[in-house]
Symmetry: C2
Subunit: 361 residues, 2 copies
């Protein structure tokens, strides 16, 4: 009747998930850093997500377990006394870029050409297969553009591999994309899935800078079908994110995030039900809510330090989110969303928002 | 830059205010019961709102202070080291039904006929002035229909006064109203106020049972003007609620709540900006957000015990809120809101919701 929800991770995604559990009146506990963003709003057990014992201990106090990050020791998620959603296999699939690509291949979903690279020999093979430029990425634990190097010429290949520590990598052909597009799917245990309107992202030095959600995206149906195919293959429960590139009017799959995602933050105010509310509902076995947009929306990451709240909120249709983090260059410390009744009005408000936010660390 | 918000009271209204402070990344502290609904989601200092020392101690750790209830020792709110919003005088005005009525009179706002009753002599005068039935209410500390008795005949008057402990009372002529209507006004420190679409309430044995918010209420403009007049008179900052009766197509003011209100819960999902978000913004000196409705809305109180979340959330457009309280007959333990694109659809969903909620304690 009143199950305890456990969340692995106590960052800002855990925080925003915990706030939705609070809204539902569902007791919630986090596992992570005691000074994490999430730890400020919910009971948090201190522990590393690499520590199988810590995870097992934590699970004993929970009735259902979920994650705010894919960077969790997945072998600790089996034989727990409570269900884990999304399924550990889905989390595992997303931890390794080669496995991810194999999954896309198996489902007939287009990706950039790719080659696994674990040795200098395989690296030489990748150079022949892909040409230049290509992107050399660690197979595991990369995010926000970290753990990857663009290789532009033959003599850069070996130094790039050395720079990444010669850990198992993947070499990916460089996709000259027109846009980056995220699709988020809310997958309940039973009943119909819901797909949010897709978000188109613009990156700034490798870290997501802002994204927009506009009505009637021409790739909505294709993206929804792609997201559903991945969710089917993974037996998915919770919110699933698939990041794609748009090239020549078609989607090229990039990666999977088995969780709520930065590109879904707009849904807090911009959709009938937010990604956080629907993830919590789904993992608790509850029906998910409508994902329709209530307006055109854009979200800007607040990096390094927060701007003055009053300056952001003076913009019509603007909403402010702080994560309770201390300042640090490049750190995601919050986000701001603007809603508008039309695309031109949205761009006007987004321009004002970007002026207020300014170039931040 | 990052002010600490202090909230006097740790019930469900404090809880929902605290969740909005968390969303903004504003540190928040509550003063109240350590096992209160709000204490589950934010740091809470134990203390009574009748205890001037506890309030003064609590205020030392805050940069701005607000309330979730008018039942607070108001003389403790002067000479604090931080601003208090709404103004203590506004809180005081709402604590005493006679003062409230005098305020309405001064502003030329219609009310039921009323007479202060502090003695058997005044009670006899009230009987002559008002006829039957009339309502005898304690001047102070009544809410949700408690602390009041309907007097239907001459021989009931003295027993009713005895029942109320012969404390200072007010006798009010019985308003045969067609509806009860609440108007909520978001009042920032600077800048334009915003008024939500009015909510019409239906009571069930004296406690608010459900309320609906429909487009183009014919009394919207009159209610907004009334709310603004009261806000002006009180120099108000924060969310102000005025409860009124509708009689013959006109408004009769009933009482003031210097705070967010049960009849505004629909705004969490049903309005662009909720009463909780705007109250937090206002008391922090930030601009308030748009109060437009995004759909037709209805909210039902969940009394006594929570229904199964899944049954509520299976209704299209339904949202569930639990307050983390233990079961107790008649206790407000949560609420559910349904949204719909049209009035007939809303009533259909509301009927389903009422079936799921059933007759609860």
């Amino acid at each position: 009747m009143n199950p305890v929800l456990g969340i692995l991770g106590a960052g800002q995604l855990g925080r925003m998930l915990a706030l939705e559990a609070h809204a539902l009146g569902v007791p919630v506990r986090l596992l992570g850093e005691p000074d994490g963003s999430g730890a400020q709003v919910a009971a948090t057990a201190e522990g590393s997500l690499d520590d199988a014992d810590a995870i097992k201990r934590f699970a004993r106090g929970c009735d259902v377990l979920t994650v705010e990050t894919e960077n969790v020791r997945v072998d600790a998620l089996v034989d727990l006394p409570c269900p884990v959603w999304p399924p550990p296999a889905a989390i595992e699939a997303s931890q390794d870029r080669v496995n991810e690509k194999r999954l896309f291949d198996r489902l007939g979903i287009p990706t950039a050409p790719w080659v696994p690279v674990a040795s200098d020999e395989e690296l030489a093979g990748a150079v022949e297969a892909l040409g230049f430029p290509f992107v050399l990425k660690k197979r595991r634990s990369g995010f926000d553009g970290r753990g990857q190097v663009v290789v532009k010429a033959r003599n850069e290949a070996v130094p790039a591999f050395r720079l990444l520590g010669e850990v198992p990598c993947i070499a990916e052909g460089f996709v000259r994309f027109d846009a980056e597009l995220s699709v988020l799917v809310a997958c309940p245990v039973r009943g119909a899935r819901r797909v949010w309107p897709v978000a188109r992202n613009v990156h700034y030095v490798g870290q997501l800078d802002y994204c927009t959600v506009l009505p009637n995206d021409p790739l909505q149906a294709e993206a929804a079908a792609l997201g559903n195919r991945v969710a089917d293959a993974l037996g998915y429960v919770g919110v699933l994110t698939v990041e794609t590139f748009v090239r020549g009017g078609a989607l090229v799959a990039n990666e999977i995030a088995p969780r709520v995602h930065n590109s879904g933050h707009w849904s807090i105010e911009g959709a009938v039900t937010s990604q956080f509310a629907n993830h919590v509902r789904a993992v608790l076995g509850l029906p998910v809510g409508p994902t329709d947009a209530v307006a055109c929306a854009a979200t800007v990451n607040l990096l390094g330090s927060l701007p003055a709240r009053g300056d952001v909120l003076a913009i019509p249709g603007a909403f402010f989110h702080g994560y309770g983090k201390s300042d640090r260059p490049g750190r995601k410390v919050g986000h701001a969303t603007v809603l508008a009744p039309s695309v031109p009005r949205l761009h006007e408000r987004l321009d004002r928002l970007r002026q207020v936010v300014g170039p931040r660390g």
